[in-house]
């Protein structure tokens, strides 16, 4: 069935049609959410929230790209999720001895966050990119994710994040610069096409 037809049925209250639309777009929605919140569980929560929110707001849909409309809701759900994470940061459960006392200077206090080499050793360029992406400010991360990962044009991104198109342009330029700067830390471990970027910074 055509997407426009599904949308019409969903707006009229057809849950099956709505679920069909969800199935069509859930992969991109989840992946955008994952790149923004950088955590699979949080991304799943944000996507589910976005789907529920989309169902509630179906009657406010005024045409245009359904995917963009859905991504806008997903992005807002990601903002909410990130806010929630800031309010309630996750704390690891502290290890105790058999007597119930806290272990002094436990090994888990050691900073084991992966360095560039370890990241590349563990996975590949994807991990390096995700590492740099997570290090970006939220506003830059969202723009570069929507443009480079989701493949949206500037105008759509401006609509999704609710900013002027000029802001999208400048944020994207800054985000790409920062990404390049971050990726230079991975040096020789990067594939060929990334190496010369690092060399430039080293000059």
């Amino acid at each position: 069935m055509e997407e426009t037809e599904l949308i019409k049925l969903a707006v009229d209250g057809d849950l099956d049609a709505f679920n069909q639309l969800v199935l069509q777009h859930q992969e991109i929605a989840f992946n955008v959410a994952y790149r923004i919140v950088a955590d699979e569980n949080a991304a799943a929560d944000a996507t589910q929230e976005a789907v529920i929110s989309m169902y509630r707001k179906l009657d406010t849909y005024r045409g245009g790209s359904f995917k963009s409309w859905f991504l806008r809701i997903v992005t807002n759900a990601c903002y909410d999720e990130l806010r929630r994470q800031r309010r309630r940061p996750t704390v690891p459960i502290e290890p105790e001895t058999n007597e119930g006392e806290l272990i002094e200077s436990p090994e888990w206090l050691e900073d084991k966050s992966a360095g560039p080499e370890e990241v590349l050793g563990a996975s590949e360029v994807e991990e390096a990119i995700q590492h740099c992406l997570t290090g970006l400010e939220q506003k830059f991360r969202v723009v570069i994710t929507l443009v480079d990962i989701s493949g949206e044009d500037y105008e759509t991104v401006a609509r999704i994040i609710g900013t002027p198109i000029g802001t999208v342009k400048s944020r994207l330029a800054r985000a790409r610069q920062k990404m390049q700067h971050c990726l230079q830390g991975f040096g020789e471990l990067l594939p060929d096409h990334f190496r010369h970027i690092s060399e430039e910074y080293d000059e």
Binding site: L23, K169, R176, I197
Partner: protein
């Protein structure tokens, strides 16, 4: 040396637009010309293309589960969809009403013109015995009565002129209690004007009846033990002249012994909107806002 540093922020933005095919045909042609002339710009474009390519080709993560909704989830979502904005709007409307009420009261309290003389029109006798004794004394000395004007039933009519407050309804004794009548033109009804008759001190709510109108004369009056020469304020008042304007400006030291009628003054102080209503609005705004917050964060 950092090659990136040689490229301005504007050029980086142009590079991005070029790469994302967001430039107009004219701008694109111009930028391509620049690219051919600048190896730095060309290199920067290659770097950015590599980054974009890598980002674009990041493998998609498989979804951990289907995000479709069941019937019960859909019903639950629909229920919450009108509750949340409902409470939010109720809270906002209550707050706006409160702001309007407090704002208007503030404006009226601070920027409206003051009511000049409310007390003299709302006056009554402090010493009830004084007029009677004054009347008797006047009769003994000159044989002429004291004029007694009563505006009891013409409440509100004295306030028509400039500076008048419209709060009529008090009793006025000629000579001694004319204070405050300069406010405006009044039309005392004939039946409210009693002359030449020692009467009981007037009760504000009940108009006095005229039995007889005598020729006016000059009399002396004693009020609260102090002898005051009272000039006749009305000359030649006859029936056909009744209803005309009578005003007397008091001397500075002739402050009449009056007391405000408590009810009148208190009525003035009463706020436009009852306090209970304001409290109700505050409560509504707070309660709706609280419920909205609870619903919002329980999700």
């Amino acid at each position: 040396m950092n090659r990136q540093a040689e490229i301005s922020e504007k050029d980086i933005t142009l590079l991005c637009e070029y790469l994302d095919d967001e430039l107009s045909i004219k701008d694109r042609a111009r930028f391509e010309k620049r690219l051919q002339q600048s190896p730095e710009l060309k290199q920067a474009l290659a770097d950015m293309t590599a980054l974009k390519h890598s980002m674009r080709n990041l493998p998609y993560r498989p979804v951990p589960h289907q995000f479709t909704l069941t019937r019960s989830e859909a019903e639950k979502a629909r229920r919450g969809s009108f509750l949340l904005p409902g409470f939010a709007w109720a809270s906002v409307v209550s707050m706006i009403l409160l702001a309007v009420i407090f704002g208007s009261e503030f404006i009226f309290a601070n920027f409206s013109a003051p009511q000049p003389v409310a007390e003299p029109l709302a006056m009554t006798l402090q010493n009830d015995a004084a007029p009677e004794s004054a009347l008797r004394q006047a009769e003994e000395e000159g044989g002429e009565p004291v004029y007694l004007l009563n505006w009891v039933s013409v409440g509100g009519k004295g306030g028509g002129g400039a500076g008048g407050s419209g709060l009529g309804g008090g009793s006025l004794y000629a000579g001694d209690f004319a204070t405050g009548m300069g406010g405006g033109l009044t039309e005392p009804y004939a039946e409210d004007m009693a002359l030449n008759e020692p009467v009981e001190p007037p009760v504000p709510a009940e108009p006095m009846q005229i039995e007889e109108i005598a020729e006016p004369t000059e009399v002396a009056s004693t009020l609260a033990g102090e002898k005051i020469t009272v000039e006749p304020l009305i000359f030649g008042v006859r029936e056909d002249q009744l209803g005309q304007v009578i005003t007397v400006q008091p001397e500075d030291n002739e402050v009449p012994m009056v007391a405000a009628i408590p009810g009148v003054i208190e009525a003035e102080k009463e706020p436009l909107i009852p306090t209970n209503f304001k409290l109700l609005l505050v409560g509504l705004a707070a309660a709706n806002g609280l419920v909205w917050l609870l619903l919002k964060f329980r999700r």
